[in-house]
Symmetry: C4
Subunit: 256 residues, 4 copies
Amino acid sequence: MDELEIDAVDDVELDDPVLVEGLPGVGHVGKLAVDHLLEELEGESTLVRRVYSQEFPPQVSVEDGVAELTCAEIYAVSVADGRDLLLLTGDHQAQTNAGHYVLTSAFLDIAEEFGASEAYALGGVPTGELIEEYAVVGAVNDESLREALEDAGVEFREDEPAGGIIGVSGLLLGLGERRGFEASCLMGETSGYLVDPKSARAVLEVLEDLLGFELDYETLDERADEMEEVMGKIQEMEQQQQQQQMPTDDDLRYIG
Amino acid sequence: MDELEIDAVDDVELDDPVLVEGLPGVGHVGKLAVDHLLEELEGESTLVRRVYSQEFPPQVSVEDGVAELTCAEIYAVSVADGRDLLLLTGDHQAQTNAGHYVLTSAFLDIAEEFGASEAYALGGVPTGELIEEYAVVGAVNDESLREALEDAGVEFREDEPAGGIIGVSGLLLGLGERRGFEASCLMGETSGYLVDPKSARAVLEVLEDLLGFELDYETLDERADEMEEVMGKIQEMEQQQQQQQMPTDDDLRYIG
Amino acid sequence: MDELEIDAVDDVELDDPVLVEGLPGVGHVGKLAVDHLLEELEGESTLVRRVYSQEFPPQVSVEDGVAELTCAEIYAVSVADGRDLLLLTGDHQAQTNAGHYVLTSAFLDIAEEFGASEAYALGGVPTGELIEEYAVVGAVNDESLREALEDAGVEFREDEPAGGIIGVSGLLLGLGERRGFEASCLMGETSGYLVDPKSARAVLEVLEDLLGFELDYETLDERADEMEEVMGKIQEMEQQQQQQQMPTDDDLRYIG
Amino acid sequence: MDELEIDAVDDVELDDPVLVEGLPGVGHVGKLAVDHLLEELEGESTLVRRVYSQEFPPQVSVEDGVAELTCAEIYAVSVADGRDLLLLTGDHQAQTNAGHYVLTSAFLDIAEEFGASEAYALGGVPTGELIEEYAVVGAVNDESLREALEDAGVEFREDEPAGGIIGVSGLLLGLGERRGFEASCLMGETSGYLVDPKSARAVLEVLEDLLGFELDYETLDERADEMEEVMGKIQEMEQQQQQQQMPTDDDLRYIG
């Protein structure tokens, strides 16, 4: 096994496609968004590349007893009324600093091979509190990209994200810029505590506007409802614990 | 010293052998199993390869004052009434993520060199509780391998092992698949707290059925008895501690 | 992306320039000093090299929504009445041991390319207490460099810095010596708890004397005033907390 | 800077020399021993090689303001009435697993270059308690080496050192064996809590016997006395603390 092995699973002619990345991260926003895109555009999508690397954890996932070696996958999607897409998804980030550089370079190589010169990195930006209105915060690797994003409702804030953008999402902008890619990062606001399908929907709605595809959100909304239920139960349990710690009227009757 | 040095200690003609891996892991199940195989098949086994690597800890073991550099060993076994075997054992796993890839690739290279195209990775799956009936859980790198294992009593469970399979065992399936190996992982249930010879026996009994050799379990059962004694003493000590903390009748007599 | 990529942004003829390094470290003294130099000498300075590396964190910084890939920058400065300068600045140190060696070698390569054979590494030395008089402690990679520094007010102390000098600053002296560089480290005393513009000024005043440039300290003093205010507020808050914990006269009146 | 740079400082003809290693480790026993050897044999010793490596910490030590890049040093010693020596000393071990392999290989290369085929790795073995009689425990990389060491008073114990020997000392035996070196490890018993000159003397007395040199121990004994004083003060302070916690007669007078 070399440090990096790229399997050419299939090849598809795309017309000026856009790379859209959704690896795991804050609130799993990016991964949820790209996985939903894949689900909704399934009929039009083809798995074209698998990327294996020593930079991934030395691990297989197991589903129904069948093992799959950790990898990242790139799907080609010919969208009827919108831009063609290259969707990048996977279950893991690189495990070392240098690994992020190695993998991002590989992803950009593949995107170039398919004729792409634009990229969107999808992710979440943690706010630390529950969110009512899901804003989408942006970052670009060239000032000229900003206006189109603002027109699509993306917010640009002076000091956000405060610590910069780390991992593949950040490097798609940084390394992308060095290779002539116009790359933007779309970060859905999210509490940062839980998997957040609502934040993923907010990000996808911006992307719909920018790239011209149309999505049904039923399955993503169902996942959001499930998460709300989970949250509801957690809050209920917390309240019950507080009640158990505070004397109730009944308790007091016996004491008095 | 190169990153990897393989000593060809001896060479043996094998007929379509099966690689069986037992490096240290959960409950030392895999290592116990392969070491027992080696002990029982000693007359028929030959040490053929030693694998040294910078990926192992920088360490010698010392027995009776004589030092041995950390390595993995591969033994060739010509089994009278069953399949020929290549047994992989050692005292250490790799110490880095990339190291697991490097070492597993080396092991598969050696197995190929001896004509193998099948592999069994032996290990344990932790349950977190004491075990009465030792089930063996399976994972395969190709759906077609499942039926034969199920016939031999291996269980396939939808969500197990939950976190996938990590280290050389996992990569034997994952990297093996990429090189045309039919590879399975046999994981004996084990509490995860102690070295578990009973779990190793459960795994070996499945393997007997699959590969056609016959084993005597006397020494493994003796180790199991020793472990039971150790466990018994631990439980006794725990009970004594609890009794010391709880007032006994005698204590109460003086208080009353 | 290679392990190291050096962008030749511009080229400038310099006359026997001196490399001055100010990467982040104790009290951010070195970085504050070099950034102030850059600000004050802006009219005369040209960005000549950007150094990108897998040894830096895999990260972009974001300012007003525009992302910049982590790098180190080298500026050429033609100083009217003093020595020409190569100023090295950046937001990050290398993330691994080997990375410090790799980056320092790259910085020395670039300095050599511009004809430099002298270097000053700027930094802070932590004292653990608040500082009234900001001494500058020195270290050199050749005994012969000591006298000139002592004449400029630099102190040499038998056992300082106790643990040696770590990171790029240390290696500029150590690796520099192996390549014929005369390299010195100027360490401003600093508490080690806060960003310390006063310590940076103390270091720069020594450098003014050694290299013949003249600086205005207004903006650095303003930052020092801001830090004093921050410190004042912290001390105030601490005093309030102590007062809240100690009974005041008023409290005692009600108790008595 | 390459991963490894070896400076040939000087060259000396040696007659079948023995490599003696004393890098930092448990109780600094090995380093104390080799540094004492160097001090005592100063008239006859020549610095022949310096080994620089990215595997060492990225650091300079500073003495009287003059910085020295971290390295290991090898001295050649022509001993009048005994075996010629190659003494290996330094302030640091490698910082990664692979680094121990890289550096040990380099040390063995240099030893071979000077015609050596024997090596002694000096170190300490921690006992966890204060020591009255300083035994020296041995390990060899070939059974045939054991008898001569036993004759010199070295003890071989079935299960010691329990965890094997880690770092350069261990690899000198392990990698040495693979290159035809007869290598032994001499480990002085030491509490493991403090720098232990007495343990270093015990190790050196064995080596005197084995290699035929004669040492004066005055300076090492002085360091041992200093350490005893330090220990005495620590014990005194502990006793005072205990006394302060226990009521004294005076305290009791007021209570009674």
